[in-house]
Amino acid sequence: MAEWELTNKLGQYLDRHLVFPLLEFLSTNHIYNEDELLQVKLGLLNNTNMVDFAIDVWQQLNPDQIPPDQFMENRIKVVKQLKELESVTRPILELLTNEAISQEIAKARDVRQLLDYLQKNHGFNPDMIDSLLEFAKFQYECGNYSGAAQYLSSHRMLISPNDKNYLSNLWGKLACEILMQRWEAALEDFNRLKEFIDSYPFFANQLHLLQQRTWLIHWSLFIFFNHSQGRDMLIDMFLEKKVNYPKQQTNNPYLNAVQTMCPHILRYLTTSVITHRKRREHMKELVKVIQQESYTYRDPITEFVECLCVNFDFDGAQKKLRECVEVFDHDFFLVALKDDFIENARLFVFEIFCQIHECISIGMLAEKLNMTPEEAEKWIANLIRQARLDAKIDSKLGHVVMGTQAVSPYQQLIEKTKAMGIRCQVLTMNLEKKLHSVQERGWDLS
């Protein structure tokens, strides 16, 4: 049960605040001791400014006792700090709320010009920028995510991408959006951050780059499994071989990061691929990765794929599928996908089954698909009706008979010669082009 639980691993790459949702989920799940969970939560809270929340948790832990003074001290300290920061940032906040200035900001193209303008006309001080970031961070620590997000977006207006705080700003903004569950905005921020990391010229250090990517992958899980398009994006991120990674044409850097740093992400990737419409395209790649990493990470979901695509062991796949259900129940990100996954996995099994077999008894199929024979028959009938399956049901014998797959020589011939026309055309075109250029050059020379 807890064997496949990933919170422990995921937590290493998440922000403190991002772990809370995971813990909340776990406490509804009852696989761990409630008190221990609270203890952990308290541990997490101790390093934030959310003192009230911490007191709550403490009281949950020790129902009949008065919280120690330490909390109160903390609280006083936090409040004091807040006041200080507020007073420091007040001028800039006032500036930013000024109608005229915000219009000016919206108009401004160049950050430097904007700063110049502000400095000249509004008594702006460059130090204010940093204090703004600090304030935003403080707000974030206090749990005031919307405020933090707002400050951060203002902050970003005022700094150029070359600023040393730009990266922190992006991360902070992403965290805020995720915690406020504004997925569209979060996705926007995520893309901005991803682009920045991919193109960031100062990551000379590969290790640093790898680290950033690993974090990004983990944070993005929140978006991918909550946004409606999320899973497609997840697949794109890992399995698309895009041209825009010029240095490593062969390897997708994110997949690389997964393989080196966090193979447990494969669970999410696998799930996405199986539930994806066009899974076949990606399956091959995925299977390769799973096999390569099988010694560092395996769970029922990856094993399911392995059983099915490598060993063609349908019984094993069936068993794994059953285990998968449990995994899904206990995974914060995947719990909503359970039914979808099961349905798709079944279809996947069946697809492969049909590829191999010519004649299948419905009873056996039902067993393999974890259904009753009647259900199975209905299910298959539906598939046939939707023209997704070329088959007939022999209800007398209880068999499904596949349509013949044999290819006629005629078809074969067509297949073989199909591409040839285009290839020849390309070739002649190239030749012509070349000839043309040679002739031109020839004139030049003469």
Binding site: E3, L26, Y32, E36, L37, T250, F312, I352, H357, Q412
Partner: protein, 934 residues
Amino acid sequence: MSGRFFKGVSDSESESSEAESDILPTRPHPAVTSAFPVSDEEEEAKRVVRTAKEKRYEELHTIIRQIRNHKKIKDISKMLSGFENLTRAFQKAKLVIEREENNKIPTFYLRCLVELETFVHETWEDREGRKNMSKQNSKSLATLRQKLRKYSKDYETEMNKYKENPVEDDEKEEESEDEESDESDSDDDGPMDFMKKPEKEVKEDFKEEPKIDKDVEDDDESDDSYWQGSSDESSLTSDDEKYGGNRAKNVFERDTDKTKETTKRRRKPKEGEHRKQRIHEEEDEQEEGRWKEVQRGGIPGEKPKMFSKDEEINHQSVIKKLLEILAMRGKKRIHRSDQIEMLVELLDICGAHKLGPAIETKVTLGIIAALFEYNPNVSPCMKPENWQKCLKFANLLFDILLENPDIVVSENIAEEAESFTAPSFRVHGCALTLVEKMDEEFTKLLQAVDPHSPDYIERLKDEKNICTIIERLQTYLEANQKGTSSELCRAYILRIDHLYFKFDPLVFKKREQQAKARANSLVNGDGVQTEPQDEEKKEGAVEEKPEEPQIGETSLEVIDRLCKYIYAKDATDRLRTQAILCHIYHHALHDNWFEARDLMLMSQLQHNIHKADIPLQIIYNRALVQLGLCAFRHGNIRDAHQDLLDIQFFGRAKELLAQGLLPKPQERTPEQEKMEKRRLLPFHKHINLELIECVYLVSAMLLEIPDVAANEFSVRKKVISRSFYNQLRKNEEQPLVGLPESMREHVVAASKAMRVGNWKACRDFIINDKMNTKVWNLFYQANKVREMLVQKIREESLRAYLFTYSHVYDVISLATLSEMFDLENNIVHSIISKMIINEELMASLDEPTQTLIMHRTEPSRIQGLALQLADKVTNLVDQNERLWDFKQAGAFGGQQQRMGYQNRQENQNRNYQEYGQRQERNNRENRRSNYVRN
């Protein structure tokens, strides 16, 4: 008798000292003491009145010696001039000879002539060598030959006589050669002594008492004491006062000994055992000599050789002396062995006076350095005695250094900044470099010994010592952060270098233990439903894991630790690369396939290893081979094949792994060959070549045979392994195939069996007693490997069978197949499914009856031909496209890059599925159309 004897002796002494001041590199063998006072005394000692005979003979000797030296270095033009000088000098000496020797030509002169003659003859005959000679030399050679021929006519009879009866001299020759190899120049003195004493006299001496000397050693001793007494007197009375008294005494003793030796030698001229005895005696003598000196040194004030009587022995004086001795290095008349012994003595003195560890360190460093410099050339190895000494002193050095952590030894300390007196000693030098040098010497020693002789084992015993020394070096450098990180890296790489190729069975035991422990903890973990999720808690649980009898740090962990340090700290790329490769090797050796593979892939070495230096490439090759073997043990046949392919491809595994030279000397210059020889690995590091080849061939068989079966008639069949094909072809070319004898024949026979799906025969060819002893038993867990292999053979045979015979079946029952190949039902199912999915097999399964139904489309003749035509047209288009690409790429893309490991990895899956995807279908058609046509 004593008088006469004595006279001769003193003569020889004066002569030898004369000679010394001229060119003689050293004193007679054990004359350590006489070399000690590096003073002007010797020059003065020259003024001795000598007879004409002595003078002439002296001259002759000098020239002969020169000639001999030139001969050694093959400087023929010098030899020619030497020869001319010699004849001239002999002419001068003729008178004396006539008077003294009754016109008998002295033997040493004859000997020289004979030697010259043979040498010239030999050089003349050696046409190869003559061609390589410089112009000047070859010219001189011709002249010398002529002159010599002319000259020797005059002495023909004598020379012939000498040739016939060279007994005594031959004996001496051998002796002198012995001594030469001992690096003591007594061969220069030998003949001189021998000549100097009028033979008859000596002979008479011993005729008088021939039996007394039977018990040689006793006799020696008694003689010694006797002579010692008398010499003391003589030094006071008869000798000039210019001789330092002690010096004379010492030399005198030596010479008496020498005389005795010579005479003894003469008396027993034939036996080999005599020589042995003599060497023994010499050793005795040496010891005796040393012993005497030390005895004298025991009372420090009276030690004349190292320090004068009244000289105070303190740090400065010792350092001064040390520098003096060290400064002697390279000077001609100081022999290196003397230098070493002086240093050893100095060390003793330091010990006796308790001058502190720092100074001892300094002296020890000096000794080790001197030992290394003993050989002037780089290529030949050290002598075993010196090697032993070297080990001893290295140990001593670390004794001192580890006991006294307050000594700082560093190269960065200038000679002037050294301090020996107070704690926080500072010494110039570098222990690390010494150990590195030592390690190199050790490799050379091993290279020089025949690996199949017991000597090798004898030498190899020192491996342990050297490992200890390296470990001590490491502890020394680690303690108190003495070493900088780069020094530590170097020390670690030394350690790794001695560790990485050694197999440690403990690794496996530990692994089993851990697996067991994990299983236990899993059981426990499952029992407790509400296991805490908290990280700390989990870690705690890991720590509490019940661990059975502890296995200490295994070599794998040691290497892991050291390598990780190097990865992090190393600044030079080379050490890191070396560390990575050793790490890979070690992982692979211990069946950590995934780790090894990942390291290999992550290091990306396969892309740039060809830019590295050759020793590194050798390690790379070794790591790759080991990785291949490991993959094989894991059953990853394709990986194993790919890893070994590069090594086996050209059939030069031996060379690529630096385990031997190819017998093609004409392809390289002597220098190259020398370099290659130096790079050869010592035998104990070798990887068994037959094992590599066998694993490679078997892997190739498992991959290739089903592929061959699938593409029997295909035009575009890709060859997976060319060398495997070569083996097959060779076998087919034979008119008569007998029972397989060699490993290769076994594999070929097995392949043939597999080709028709006869897995039992295949298995029996691959796994039998012969192959077991030759190959499989070399694996650590041989049985596991064999099991894996049998399983693979079954599976691949099944595939081959289906490819070959599927067209004769309409329907096959899976149960029959599983019975035929002794495979489990689900495995058969899985294999067939895979084949169907990959479109290798045109068939589908019928689930209710558990049978495989073959699909067959019977193309008509015209269809078959059309398909063939389509194939050919496709080929044509392919060719055109390739041509175009080639033209486009022009000069830049023409050469195809060596396909790296990474790419191969990626291609791997593709290949697997691509092979014969469509081709399979075509084949069938081709086959059929052929059939139709016939």
